[in-house]
């Protein structure tokens, strides 16, 4: 399913936030600008801190993953 950025989550779309020219306003690649907007939305909504690492997100070497142990996950991934 296509993931669309949620305009409500984008602080740049809210009035009174981050005045001035943003870097992505000068970005020549509109798709990069979209990715940056999604990054800001997630960061400013606290998602980068709140979302837990699932097994499929852990790309550290196997020996490091093994040392870290199997942490419980919330997302139901087995």
């Amino acid at each position: 399913m296509t993931q669309e950025p949620d305009a409500d989550d984008d602080p740049a779309a809210r009035p009174g936030t981050r005045p001035g020219i943003r870097a992505d306003a000068l970005c020549a690649d509109p798709r990069e600008a979209l990715a940056r907007a999604a990054f800001r939305a997630a960061r400013d909504a606290g998602k980068h801190r709140a979302l837990r690492t699932r097994r499929r997100d852990d790309w550290r070497p196997a020996r490091v993953r093994g040392r870290a142990g199997r942490r419980p996950t919330r997302d139901g991934e087995r």
Partner: protein, 193 residues
């Protein structure tokens, strides 16, 4: 590890700490290979599919754990899922499955194909890779275009490393044959040069 991988790992770490400029630089390092991989899977819709993948990558960045090469693998996995979703919606097979099987009967060569591919443009590379059977094409795309190592390629594909290694070797051998055939200029032209 590729030349940009140490820098990429550092950029990702900074992006996870909230640095948007670092995220943008990581995007620019990863996007060309990722787009090439997606193009090999979905063809002309690749830019839209890769863009969807980046929205998910940007949202889930805090979940990721790993270094620069790990980030390439993680992003390739996300892009692959988006590409497969797209193909399911389109109800068609990957382009790699649609090409003339006759091309595959060309003689095999040596494992110099990876090096030779690096000298070709992305478009030329993808055109050649698309002529492979899908499992070989995808293994080669991940190894050569995205720059993953064997274990990372296997993880993205959800297959055993041995099977992926075999597919990759067969794919590169086929490509070596295709490259050799493509590189041989007509005798008359060569004499006239």
């Amino acid at each position: 590890m590729g030349p940009d991988d140490a820098e990429l790992g550092s950029l990702v770490e900074r992006a996870q700490g909230g640095d948007e400029e670092a995220f943008a630089r990581a995007y620019r390092l990863v996007q060309p290979g990722l787009l090439g991989y997606v193009r090999g899977l979905v063809g002309e819709d690749a830019e839209d599919v890769a863009s969807d993948a980046w929205l998910e990558i940007a949202r889930d960045l805090g979940r990721f754990r790993g270094d620069g090469p790990g980030f390439r693998g993680w992003t390739a996995t996300i892009a692959r899922h988006r590409a497969l979703d797209h193909l399911r919606r389109q109800r068609r097979r990957p382009r790699t499955a649609l090409l003339e099987q006759d091309l595959l009967d060309l003689p095999g060569g040596h494992d110099t194909a990876a090096a030779a591919l690096e000298t070709l443009s992305t478009e030329q590379t993808l055109a050649l890779v698309r002529s492979l059977p899908p499992d070989q094409a995808e293994a080669v795309l991940l190894r050569v275009v995205v720059g993953l190592d064997g274990p990372a390629t296997a993880r993205v594909l959800g297959k055993r490393p041995g099977a992926v290694r075999t597919a990759g070797h067969r794919g590169l051998r086929r490509l070596a044959g295709l490259l050799a055939a493509a590189a041989e200029p007509p005798r008359r032209q060569r004499d006239g040069a």
